[in-house]
């Protein structure tokens, strides 16, 4: 459904995207992850026909992304990394305008739109420029989903949303996937794709360094947990099972665990009295040291 062949787009310096190849099949959810500045948005701009690549070919549903952008938009919903709305427009007015520009204003579509507004608790009165950033993001979400598109191209879709709305968004994606939608979600937060995507492409400095199904990728993940014990823990056990750890104080530890070995960690910890167990927020580079460490650059 979505395919890129050797697309390259260079910016000044060494920035850009280079020889990108990936394919998202119909009905598949593809997580496109990479830290900020890795080239996620550049790729999406090529897919959305905003930029043309200097080399290679990008297609959606077999249509050339640059020349056939209008036909592609008919079946696509797009959340830009950051949406700038028109000055002076009201929320309802904007949604009506976009619906008219899409040539779709049937009652079924309005129903879907209203259910999205309700779901994300979007404030529809007032002018867009007076909305807070998270409201603007909600508006972008409603705009992208309200015409029930077959293909969803999402660039940091949960940007600025609070945790509750993030989880509502994840639910929405899961529902859309169940309906057979094709989804490409670019994000720098692995937890966004963990629950929703079948396959993941990992982007580093404009190149895809790994592309695999989510289970394989999770085995490369290194999770970090903050743990406070009531007593001195049995460090020998942790070492024996190969878990890395950092000690902060007598009873406070950060324990590192591979994504596919959480079960083993739980079993080891079950012999201790655990007072606090928090998962740490990590950057993509921390989670995927395998791909992002300095050594990996030279490899």
């Amino acid at each position: 459904m979505i395919e890129t062949r050797d697309i390259t787009l260079k910016y000044s310096g060494s920035k850009g995207i280079f020889d990108l190849n990936f394919k998202v099949e119909k009905g598949e959810a593809f997580g496109y992850i990479g830290p900020k500045g890795a080239g996620k948005t550049s790729t999406i701009r090529v897919l959305m026909g905003l930029s043309h690549s200097s080399k290679g070919l990008a297609t959606i549903n077999g249509l050339n992304c640059f020349n056939k952008a209008a036909a592609i938009q008919k079946i696509t919903g797009y959340i830009p990394e950051q949406t700038s709305f028109f000055d002076g427009m009201r929320v309802k007015e904007y949604l009506n305008f976009i619906s008219r520009m899409r040539g779709s204003s049937g009652s079924k579509k309005t129903e879907l739109r209203d259910s999205l507004i309700e779901r994300f608790e979007l404030e529809t009165r007032g002018k867009i420029e007076n909305l807070s950033n998270d409201m603007k993001q909600k508006l972008a979400i409603v705009t992208a989903f309200m015409h029930d598109p077959e293909v969803l191209i999402l660039d940091e879709p949960t940007n600025g949303l609070d945790p509750l709305m993030q989880s509502r968004f994840v639910d929405l994606i899961i529902e859309e996937k169940r309906q057979g939608k094709t989804i490409l979600m670019a994000t720098h937060m692995f937890e966004n794709v963990e629950r929703t995507c079948d396959r993941v492409g990992i982007l580093k400095e404009g190149r895809i360094v790994a592309q695999d199904d989510i289970i394989q990728v999770k085995s490369a993940e290194i999770k970090s947990y903050f743990v406070r014990f009531e007593d001195h823990p049995n460090l020998e056990q942790l070492k024996k099972y190969g878990f890395g750890y950092k000690q902060f104080s007598e009873k406070d530890y950060e324990i590192l665990c591979q994504g596919d070995r959480i079960d083993a960690l739980v079993k080891v910890l079950s012999h201790e009295k655990v007072l606090v167990f928090n998962s740490n927020t990590q950057t993509l580079e921390e989670i995927f040291q395998k791909y992002y460490s300095k050594e990996a650059i030279n490899a």
Binding site: L50, A70, S84, F85, F97, M101, T143
Partner: protein, 266 residues
């Protein structure tokens, strides 16, 4: 062309158009009201107090004694360059470069409308609003003349004046539109659009001052519209109109073409 977008253009820019329609109508009305059918002696006396070069620059060295010629000199002499120039610079920038610059153009491109279709709509609005402006001026001219000096205005010449001025303004508008399509940045869009028009305007003014500077007129678009020649029936209306139309179409096509292939920063 996209109808919903065209309606949005009207809504967004109606106030700008109304301001210029109002100002120019008022100006035209006052000029017609000032006309003295017993001769323009008083005005000529007044102008003789001013330096000759200034009078020439303002294109007032010859004033026709008929009402049509009077309007031709005083309204279609300099005013007709200035007001529409400002209008076109503002509107040209608002129609394209402003939305590209602030990123909101992306909203349009998330809908199933091609860039070309969107940009053609914007160009059509520019032409449409200029035609509205001059239609209103034509009607105001007819109405005020008919009320103050019935039967004095040469309607066909007045129509020719408006037709040529309208096409001139469309060409001016297309210059602004072209730069608005070409550049992603409002500063550059405004700078080039306004810059070129101001140079044209200065050349026209300077070319009237003396024989030494007369050659500059050849390089100014504005010199292609000479209201006195039209009033005297010396101008070849068809050539002027076809010329303006051709330049406008070329600029329009170039603007659409440039916009169709460029990388958008939105």
């Amino acid at each position: 062309m996209s109808i919903p977008l065209f309606l949005k253009d009207i809504k967004d820019n109606i106030f700008l158009l109304l301001i210029f329609v109002f100002l120019m109508s008022l100006y035209l009305g006052v000029i017609i009201y000032m006309y003295d059918p017993n001769g323009v002696g008083a005005l000529v006396d007044m102008l003789s107090l001013l330096p000759v070069a200034l009078v020439k620059a303002m294109r007032l060295s010859t004033i026709d004694s008929g009402l049509t010629g009077f309007i031709g000199s005083l309204f279609y002499g300099i005013i007709i360059y200035l007001f529409p120039m400002v209008y076109c610079i503002i509107l040209g920038n608002r129609l394209v470069a402003k939305w590209v610059n602030d990123g909101s153009f992306a909203c349009l491109l998330t809908t199933p409308n091609s860039r070309v279709k969107i940009i053609v709509t914007q160009g059509i609005y520019m032409v449409f609003s200029i035609i509205v402006l001059f239609s209103v001026l034509f009607l105001v001219g007819l109405a005020v003349s008919g009320y103050c000096f019935p039967g004095t205005l040469d309607k066909s010449v007045f129509f020719e004046l408006n037709l040529c001025a309208c096409l001139l303004t469309i060409t001016v508008g297309m210059i602004c539109f072209f730069f608005s399509c070409l550049f992603n940045d409002t500063t550059l869009s405004l700078g080039f659009g306004a810059g070129i028009l101001i140079i044209f305007f200065l050349f026209t003014i300077l070319s009237g001052i003396s024989d030494l500077t007369a050659f500059l007129g050849k390089y100014s678009l504005y010199n292609a519209f000479n209201s006195l020649a039209i009033v005297k029936g010396e101008a070849n209306i068809v050539t002027i109109c076809v010329g303006f139309l051709t330049i406008s179409l070329l600029l329009f096509a170039a603007g659409v073409g440039a916009f169709g292939i460029k990388r958008l920063p939105v």
